[in-house]
Symmetry: C2
Subunit: 156 residues, 2 copies
DNA sequence: ATCCATCTTCAAGTGAATTGCAAATAGAGT
DNA sequence: ACTCTATTTGCAATTCACTTGAAGATGGAT
């Protein structure tokens, strides 16, 4: 009783992701292994903000005993393909998220329950560009994290 | 021939820093050791954006063979005293900087030469507060890093 | 001068992430 | 379908920044 792994992808809104991944693999003479398919499939199912260890645990619970190194290598492959971003937190942990082209967001992070809320603010983006220009920098990317208490964690 | 270690402090613009540190030590029944004095003195001399390992090397070159653990413990003490901030970068490294009260800045970081430029932008700060409020978050702190090429590293 | 809580040192430990290498496998070429 | 080999996997060992345990040293209160 074989499990079908790829077929799901056509039912998710991630067609573009799978296509881009296939392209990347072909272009770089990389292989489409069972491990990669399952890891990517479960990565997408956990979206957004996936922790490598959590993804590893999920795979384990679903009966896929892949090595943790394989999970990391797959996530790094997706990063190299520019399909995911890695958000490194100051405590040394990091999470991965789908890098949606033509869209950008920053993060509000609850210092109490660690919940993460995404937001977009065009005004801030424009001001960032202005600042960079003022100092003669070309702006390649940025990282804006706002830390505070979420509504559920507000002290009375 | 003893070296004078503390006297320098009265000649620097960091009187307030030394006073605040002395206060903190006294209030918490902590001791003023030779190691702490020298480490803080050289930390201030390297300002801004001090890497723990670099500080350790500097001390070593000046003839102070303190343990790296002592350097880290002293920097953590300064953090606990709210006298320095730690900026953790995504590569796992981090730098420490004096936490100047009543002033705040963010960072422009050159992706080519790693130079760090500080900037302030009141408009961005205000917008951050607005975003947090919009999502019902209390805003405790934030981190904004802009990445790009500095003028010296601009491709022709 | 005594005393003891705090410190320093050095080595060992931590934890996320990477890497080396032998065995397995995808998939191109025949 | 079978071969061939570059790529991949699994597992253990390793790395890197940083922290911690423990035993002897020291600041500073009395
Ligand atoms: Mn996100
Ligand atoms: Mn700074
Ligand atoms: Zn919360
Ligand atoms: Zn530069």
């Amino acid at each position: 009783m074989n499990k079908k792994v790829q077929s799901n992808s056509d039912e998710t809104p991630y067609k573009w992701f799978w296509r881009a991944l296939d392209d990347y693999l072909v272009k770089n003479s990389l292989k489409q292994t069972k491990q990669r398919k399952v890891i990517v499939q479960e990565f997408l199912a956990m979206n957004p903000h996936v922790d490598a260890e959590q993804l590893f645990e999920r795979l384990r619970k679903m009966g896929y005993y892949f090595g943790l190194a394989t999970v990391y290598r797959t996530l790094n492959l997706l990063k190299d393909a520019n399909l995911v971003d890695q958000l490194a937190f100051s405590d040394g942990r990091s999470v991965f998220e789908v890098n949606t082209p033509d869209s950008h967001h920053d993060h509000l992070i609850c210092t109490h329950c660690r919940k993460v809320v995404e937001f977009e603010n065009e005004e801030i983006e424009k001001l960032q560009l202005k600042v960079a220009q003022h100092y003669g920098f070309s702006l390649e990317s940025h990282r804006l994290d706002l830390f505070g208490r979420c509504p559920d964690c507000m002290p009375v």
